[in-house]
Amino acid sequence: MSLDVNKIRQDFPILTQTVYGKPLAYFDNGATTQKPQVVIDCTNQIHTELNSNIHRGVHYLSEQMTELYEGARRKVQEFINAEHSQEIIFTSGTTGSINAVAFSFGELYVRPGDEIIVSGMEHHSNIIPWQMMCDRKGAKLRVIPFTDEGELMLDEYKKLLSNKTRLVAVNQASNSLGTVNPIKEIIDLAHGVGAKVLIDGAQGVQHGGIDVQSLDCDFYAFSGHKIYGPTGIGVLYGKEKLLFDMPPYQGGGDMVECVSFEKTTYNSLPFKFEAGTSNFIGAIGLGAAIDYVKSVGIEDIAEYEQKLLNYATDKLLQIDGLRIYGTAKHKISVISFLVGDIHPYDMGMIMDKLGVAVRTGTHCTQPIMDRYEIEGTIRASMAFYNTFEEVDRLCEAVLKAKQMLE
């Protein structure tokens, strides 16, 4: 069944507004996605009727909230097909999840001389935590290069793998190039040398879902706000055995079993990794967002977004002097481009005043920009509520800006 975009758009109240007198065409979904009414209603209702801290109270509201919170955990578990609900840790976002693994995994498993592998197309959030960990542990960071088209060079990756490799961290899809990476192959190869793998799913999970068991990935991270859920909530999936062995990375309430000044023992999974009051309303809102995405159908979303991607790619390429950065065979609905010598900031500013919201700059992927020797790009990242007419307006805005700036 294919998706009815006009019906979908009615679910997102923000999309009906005008900016600078023009209807809003929102193409900054890679940065954050808009929220359907059901998510807004869910968080509103909790604040209005149910708010109470989880896991602690003996009273009615607290019990209700705890049940909803743990229910959200099971929704996430089911959505990414984790084996156990305690393998789902709620964090502040993808960045929080990656930092948690970099610390806890690093403390337990990484020794001087060991190696961590990332790819050349990672978001800064999937580079810096590993650099910090390598500095701390005396380990070395290795980088998988990519081709001009924006595809990872797997032959080079194979050469980097060795018995020194402790962990490989790559994204499911690149936020600035759009490349969908062959993560199954990357995981299998890493496992072949006994290394663990973290997949940064920030740009992947909302465009087609994930099955952590069939992929056999060790860690998976994603953010709520990029999958139509609230901001400030994210997920870390980790295999039970690994999470069980790894030390907690933050101390505080809820993560302890027994505290004394002589010795503190930690709570069981997943609470060991959820110190302090977690963003329980965000987690429940994320559960509502997952329900929504499932009701639309993740396959239908992926199929529609691919059509949008193809249409926008063809149409943008008709513009004289326009170059797309990231032309991999498999892509999410993200297009990074430049036109002639025009500075991306200039183009983005003009497009904004035409009601077309794009992002310009390095997109937190400076190594990618260095690889192409450019200062930045204009990025249009599309979601399943974007229309073909909006893509037309995107192209018109590019043309108008080009005419003004050339």
């Binding site: 500075h343 900031y345 200039d346 310009t360 390095t362 003004m404």
Partner: protein, 142 residues
Amino acid sequence: MTLDEIQEEIIAEFEDVGDWMEKYNYLIELSKDLEPLDAKYKVPENVIHGCQSRVWLVADVVDGKLSFTADSDAIITKGIIALLIRVLNKRSPEEVMNADLYFIDQIGLRQNLSPTRSNGLLSMVKQMKMYALAYHTKLSQA
């Protein structure tokens, strides 16, 4: 003309400019009039990094007045630089130090000087004022 008279002049010019597209067209025109910055000054010591665009700024003092030359890799940023230089050039260090650049707000370009924009402009204004302070200190000691 005083510093504020020039600000008023710019505000009046922008009142004649219609919508956003015209405003940007005007800034693009202004950018072309900006005195070019010699390549030898486009060195790391003079660069002000923004995440969105880069700005180069060089300052000097001639007969007790400040002289600024600047450039940017983005045209609209450059147009705004042209306006800032028009207001702040050939002013005494004290005038630059105490300048209240209200015209930016009045012509609707405030967002371009917000810390969140990260286009180098806000840092450029700060840097201009730092130069003014430095020259002020230097001149008063001489």
